[in-house]
């Protein structure tokens, strides 16, 4: 057991990575799914072990192949990365519980092996990004995630051929983003002569005033912002989320952009250091307006959407705006709120996308108009959606409330007019959220079902995972010691790091 524990950081990555090609060999409906579920579950278990160990004993460093850093590649599990790993593998496992019937409905059985192989690769990539302590390794894992996610999104083509163009557009934009990150990492390497993140961070102050470093900051921030779907770099996200298979959407909504948020935090706070990021190069002034516009404008866009998945996708961009605001505040309270919202939004949004997936499963559509009267036909699913929607709005007892509370406390902490303005913007955006959720609820419940409408309640295999997420979100909205505790721990660690 000690072997498995002491290699936990790398095993959490290697197991799904090695599993992927094996999975591609499986045929049939059940085998690849079950295999993927088991591997994801193992990764989840390792992540939890890691998080417990890190929270008890401080950061864990793992040297790949026994090569000592800074020459070898180092995997580092610190409070932030362990926390994000738990989120990713947890969401992935939860979504997989749900996946079996849902995906069999949307992807040809003959392709399921490949589908789940790509799924495992995406999981590997995201876990790898969080745990690696090597800047170039980040790029590699990022591309593993990206390439597999293009494939996963394109798998939606059987339902809607626009999945193909969405995937292609994501490929173009995503590659540009990843390449920007590659350029940034290269420039950092040129200036510091090392790729180890801790090492770069050590040497950063001595060379921080040079022009290549500033260019590197620009490339990295913009590159990450593209992968993060920060407004206005979000153009790929709504289409990709709308046309991808439902479980892919649910999986990515909870994880893909969150990993990029992790990267943003990692670079801003660990590599550049808060003093440089906010004192020398004014990242607050750059990110804050983008966050505010995203929170407001994208919420308004969500109000007008006709497709439920697209509505939720725009809502995700708006929620990422909150996180951007939180990070740009450059305070410990802000950082806590941001990290907290990564967790809270992940669980709520995944739950919502799963309920929408169940509606699609039963009715074959995600057009809001066509879902009229679903409240009567699918009471459990619809009620799940309503509860999830409450979480998105931020009603007390939901995690949305917790993170909004922290965020508002954090912006008010500024104590100036910008702080009050931000608080108003956040409240305004919440009101928009009420409107777009309400619009859906109204149609689900108060409009009569169209003549001869299909669909009765979704099967239990879909309902139970949905409700796990919904009830889980309420659990974390009430008993907040887990999410708030680890978010605070991570924020303290990051602020104390330099």
């Amino acid at each position: 057991m000690t072997f498995f524990m002491s290699h936990a950081p790398v095993l959490a990555i290697i197991i799904p990575l090695m599993g992927a090609p094996i999975c591609a060999l499986f045929r049939g409906k059940t085998a690849p799914w079950l295999f993927t579920l088991i591997l994801s579950g193992i990764a989840f278990a390792y992540s939890i072990d890691l998080l417990i160990a890190v929270s008890a004993n401080g950061p864990i460093s793992y040297e790949i192949g026994g090569w000592a850093p800074p020459y070898g590649i180092e995997y580092v599990a610190d409070p932030l990365s362990a926390f994000v790993m738990v989120i990713i593998s947890g969401i992935s496992t939860g979504v997989l519980l749900y996946a079996k019937d849902s995906i069999a409905n949307e992807v040809p059985t003959s392709r399921l092996g490949f589908f789940f192989a790509a799924y495992l690769l995406a999981l590997t990539g995201m876990m790898g990004i969080t745990v690696t302590g090597d800047a170039f390794n980040i790029f590699v894992f990022l591309e593993i995630t990206s390439l597999s996610s293009y494939v996963l999104i394109a798998m939606g083509a059987r339902q809607d051929r626009r999945a193909l163009t969405a995937a292609f557009q994501y490929l173009i934009i995503g590659t540009i983003g990843a390449t920007f990150i590659l350029i940034g990492v290269g420039l950092l390497y040129v200036m510091t002569g090392t790729l180890n993140i801790a090492d770069i961070a050590d040497k950063f102050d001595s060379i921080s005033d040079t022009r290549p470093i500033r260019a590197a900051v620009g490339f990295l921030i913009v590159g990450i912002a593209i992968k993060l779907a920060m407004f206005p770099f979000h153009v790929w996200l709504p289409n990709a989320y709308s046309y991808a298979p439902n479980i892919v959407t649910a999986f990515f909504a909870g994880t893909a952009t969150k990993v990029s948020v992790y990267l943003l935090i990692r670079f801003i706070y660990t590599v550049f250091g808060a003093d440089f990021s906010f004192g020398t190069v004014y990242l607050t002034e750059l990110l804050l307006p983008l966050g505010v516009i995203a929170a407001l404008s994208m919420s308004v866009v969500a109000i007008f959407q006709d497709n439920l998945k697209r509505l939720l996708a725009f809502s995700s961009v708006a929620q990422l705006g909150y996180i951007t605001i939180a990070i740009a505040l450059a305070t410990e309270a802000g950082l806590t709120a941001g990290i907290l919202h990564i967790f809270n939004h992940a669980i709520v949004k995944t739950g919502l996308f799963l309920t929408v997936g169940a509606m699609f499963f039963a009715t074959g559509t995600t057009s809001i108009k066509a879902l009229a009267g679903v409240g009567q036909r699918m009471p459990m699913t619809s009620f799940g959606f309503v509860l999830g929607g409450l979480g998105l709005i931020g009603i007390p007892l939901t995690p949305g409330f917790i993170s909004k509370w922290y965020l508002i406390q954090a912006v008010l902490e500024r104590g100036d007019y910008i702080g009050y303005g931000l608080a108003i913007a956040i409240l305004l955006s919440s009101i928009f959220a009420v409107i777009y959720i309400w619009r859906v609820v109204e149609i689900l419940y108060f409009h009569p079902s169209p003549e001869g409408a299909k669909g009765s309640e979704a099967p239990l295999s879909l309902l139970i995972p949905c409700w796990i997420f919904i009830l889980g979100s309420f659990y974390f909205g009430i008993e907040t010691s887990f999410n708030v505790g680890f978010a605070e721990q991570a924020a303290q660690f990051l602020m104390g790091a330099r």
Binding site: V140, E143, L147, L164, T165, F168, T175, I183, G186, L195
Partner: protein
């Protein structure tokens, strides 16, 4: 100035050509070519950084005081090249599927097609 760093200028020019192609062409295949050019410019950037003037290839020899070029960027960029190839292959595969589904490889045409769905 220009000739001192002409390799970097080439990187920049290639990058601009690549990005401009991605921006301006609506033919998806041309877009992919632009994207590849853009990536390749970054490969050149990495390779240029590793070069040390007067340095030889980083092969162990017994001669004293040999200056080697830095091999690490070259190794790194091998990985990036693989990624680039994978991206291009995937992109082209998608283009084939798009052509099957929409009957066109022109983005403008596809978008106007989509509106009529």
């Amino acid at each position: 100035m220009f000739f001192d760093h002409f390799n970097y200028w080439i990187v920049v020019i290639l990058m601009m050509i690549g990005l401009y192609t991605v921006m301006s062409r609506s033919n998806l295949v041309k877009k992919m070519i632009g994207l590849s050019l853009f990536q390749i410019s970054v490969f050149l950037l990495y390779i240029s950084m590793g070069k040390i003037e007067g340095g030889t290839a980083p092969i162990v020899s017994n001669a004293p005081d040999v200056i080697y070029s830095n091999p690490l960027p070259h190794v790194l960029i091998l990985t990036a090249i693989v990624v680039g190839v994978a991206t291009t292959a995937l992109g082209l595969a998608l283009i084939v599927r798009i052509k099957e589904a929409f009957g066109s490889v022109d983005e403008e045409e596809i978008l106007s097609n989509e509106d009529n769905l």
